[in-house]
């Protein structure tokens, strides 16, 4: 009897929690099919379903441009960041040189400074160098900003890859660069996936920096564009916003779920720093 009660209670709790988790999700999905535009008219179970909001999203907003901007930043950023991080981590992990320890410590301290607090200087720098015209220049900030933390992470991982593999390659006459390409890269696939995915996600989430650095419709990223749709008091474009949100949240959520294993590993490795 006691066991029975326990089983019921546990299942009940899980059901309630699942409901709390899923209701906002269902609500936003339903809102995107809602007939009507404002927040006030949206409800959990709309009376009439329509695709109007999606049509409006593509016809009346620059969703496609925002999407193109964001995805190009995301792809380039993932690529550039991984290369920079991996090379730095490799050098730091495999070579002993003067200033290595100081450099690592400096990077550790740098990584603790919230990057957007230095935005005034970045803003001035961007204007001085004329970088505030193309959104792709954000990659510079994202990639450089990702180096300090991730180098520690990847260095910890590479330290765990047996050095005897490198030495064997050197004995066979392989050059340093070649060893890096043929041995280090294939061995560090999980951590590369983690860095790539987390860097790919950056521009989808970041509102502050693109909002500050770029003005004008053609340079907006998705986060800035979506936010502008609901910044008014009455939220009269709420259902269009919902459609835009659903459309972008689905692929990203799937991406997260696919790479779940790597991401979890990466996060816990980050906390333990290897």
């Amino acid at each position: 009897m006691k066991k029975r009660l326990k089983a019921i209670l546990i299942n009940l709790e899980l059901m309630v929690t699942s409901l709390i988790v899923i209701i906002p999700v269902i609500w936003i999905v339903m809102s995107s099919f809602n007939n009507g535009t404002g927040l006030a008219t949206s409800s959990l179970i709309p009376k009439k379903l329509t695709l109007d909001n999606y049509r409006r999203l593509f016809q009346e907003t620059n969703y496609v441009t925002w999407f193109k901007n964001t995805i190009s930043i995301a792809v380039v950023n993932a690529f550039v960041s991984v290369i920079l991080i991996l090379i730095t981590a490799w050098v730091v992990s495999r070579f002993k040189f003067k200033g290595r320890k100081t450099g690592l410590m400096a990077m550790l301290i740098l990584s603790m400074f919230p990057s957007f607090l230095s935005m005034t200087a970045i803003y001035t720098l961007f204007i001085t160098l004329g970088l505030n015209k193309t959104p792709l220049s954000l990659v510079l900030v994202y990639a450089a900003g990702a180096i300090p933390y991730n180098v520690w992470l990847v260095k910890g991982y590479l330290d765990g890859v047996p050095i005897s593999l490198d030495e064997a390659a050197y004995i066979d006459g392989s050059s340093k660069i070649n060893t890096f390409l043929k041995i280090i890269i294939p061995m560090s696939k999980p951590i590369i996936v983690y860095c790539a995915v987390s860097q790919f996600m950056m521009p989808w989430m970041d509102y502050i920096l693109p909002n500050l650095l770029f003005t004008g419709e053609s340079t907006k990223t998705l986060a800035v564009g979506l936010y502008s749709m609901i910044s008014g008091k009455e939220n009269s474009h709420f259902t269009t916003f919902a459609a835009g949100t659903v459309l972008i949240a689905i692929p990203i959520t799937i991406l997260y779920l696919i790479f779940q294993k790597y991401l979890v590993e990466g996060i816990s490795a980050g906390a333990n720093k290897g």
């Binding site: 709390i20 989808w204 949100t245």
Partner: protein, 446 residues
């Protein structure tokens, strides 16, 4: 005179001279000499030195005619002398240029010292061994030795300009009066020393706001972290129970908030909880639970509770997944032994599960705490720090330090005070993270 002394002495005046003339290392000598030419060239050509020397004009003023280094240093020290949008000095621009020229100058000083040391070493080798090493061999040796530097130089340059330089700028701003009353290019910014720091602690409205916001920041960080941690652990333990039938279904649902982009979740909640039109408020009225709409995000106390709860919704799945992973690795034998001894499930949790999980997640917990301390998104995108508190200096009731800094910078252009707070925040976060990190193994192995 020994070769090492003469070689170093020549290199003091002509970079690479010792290597080139005395040690027969032509290529290397040439490299250092080129650096000297570059150094002097930059200064001469970026300024009006040549025109001045040929007597085209006088008197010479660094402000108008200085080169990259002299003008950079002048700008850094004075932050501009002539105000005015047209033809005046732009203080922040001068400061950034000053920082850049100091960094470049330091690089050249480094090369200069390296040049003298290298000349000394090359001479010493000849003194002791009596043979000359050719440039080729020496360069090959240098390449082997400095391979890491060669690879890292471009990355270091990127880091210095995009990460390091802005942080230095931020830090230095705290010692100036850069705010809406002194906005370049119309106005000039000046160095004011520690005045902003004393202002923060001695002017009542600043110090009161600072301590209230700081207190709420701590409460927020601790509540946000502990609530997600313990609810996450609770769900993981429940999911692990043998009475649960549709484990993977529950798990797939509960993992969603972790996978959905945070910004999107926050904006969705902001609308869901909207005080005027939000459907949750409407639902409560329809059910007859309340008479009026509940101001979830605009009542001081309620808004604080709301942000913590929304954060809980977003944050617990991450800990749930982590802890589930740890639970599956715990030796089953431990539980069997406990069961044989007749331990209750609460005892099992307290004596076996919790200590093991806590040990494995400790560092993650501290990192999460530091992250929440800077949890800008959860606050700003839900309430924008509001409701505005008239007793505070430009802050709202749910503002944490970082969102307050953000508002001071972007909305009110009080850059100097914001920078002071940045430094304080940095010291706190850095201190906690460093302490956390020092206890891990990675630190000892560096």
């Amino acid at each position: 005179m020994t070769k090492r002394k003469s070689s170093a002495l020549v290199s003091v005046f002509i970079w690479g001279g010792g290597q080139f003339f005395l040690c027969r290392q032509k290529l290397k000598g040439l490299f250092f000499f080129l650096m000297q030419v570059l150094f002097i060239g930059i200064e001469l050509l970026s300024g009006y030195w040549l025109e001045y020397f040929s007597g085209l004009f006088s008197p010479f003023s660094i402000r108008l005619h200085g080169g990259f280094f002299t003008k950079g240093l002048w700008g850094f020290i004075t932050l501009g002398e002539q105000a005015g949008a047209k033809g005046g000095d732009h203080s922040t621009m001068l400061m950034i240029r000053g920082i850049i020229s100091i960094l470049v100058l330091l690089t050249f000083i480094f090369i200069y010292i390296w040049n003298i040391r290298d000349a000394f070493k090359a001479g010493k080798w000849i003194d002791e061994e009596g043979v000359y090493i050719s440039s080729k061999e020496s360069i090959k040796k240098t390449y082997e030795k400095s391979f890491p530097y060669i690879i890292l130089i471009p990355i270091i340059i990127l880091l210095v300009f995009v990460v390091f330089m802005p942080i230095i700028f931020s830090f230095l701003t705290a010692f100036t009066n850069y705010n809406k009353n002194h906005l370049p290019p119309a106005g000039l910014v000046d160095w004011v020393g520690f005045k902003n720091f004393t202002k923060l602690f001695q002017v009542p409205i600043w110090s009161n706001t600072f301590f209230s916001v700081f207190l709420w920041t701590i409460i927020w960080a601790v509540c946000a972290t502990l609530s997600t941690y313990f609810i996450g652990m609770f769900q993981a333990v429940l999911l692990n129970s043998k009475y649960v039938k549709f484990k993977s279904l529950y798990r797939s649902i509960m993992i969603l908030p972790w996978a959905i982009p945070q910004l999107i979740s926050l904006l969705v909640f902001k609308n869901l909880l909207n005080g005027q039109f939000g459907p949750l408020g409407q639902l409560l009225i329809d059910l007859g639970l309340t008479k009026e709409r509940i101001p979830f995000l605009t009542d001081p106390l309620l808004a604080k509770i709301t942000v913590i709860l929304v954060n809980l919704w977003m944050g617990f799945p991450m800990f749930m997944i982590m802890i589930q992973g740890i639970l599956s690795n715990i030796d089953k034998g431990l539980y069997e032994a406990a069961e044989m001894d007749g331990a209750s499930s609460f005892q099992v949790f307290r004596k076996i599960t919790f200590p093991l999980v806590f040990k494995a997640t400790g560092p993650l917990l501290v990192m999460n705490l530091a992250g929440n301390f800077n949890g800008f998104g959860a606050i700003y995108f839900l309430t924008e720090g509001g409701p505005v508190n008239p007793k505070y200096q430009l802050a709202g009731d749910t503002d944490i330090l970082i969102s307050w800094i953000y508002k001071l910078t972007l909305d009110h252009q009080i850059y100097d005070m914001a920078a002071v707070m940045c430094i304080i925040l940095f010291i706190i976060i850095g201190g906690v993270s460093f302490w956390n990190f020092k206890r891990t193994n990675a630190f000892k192995e560096v």
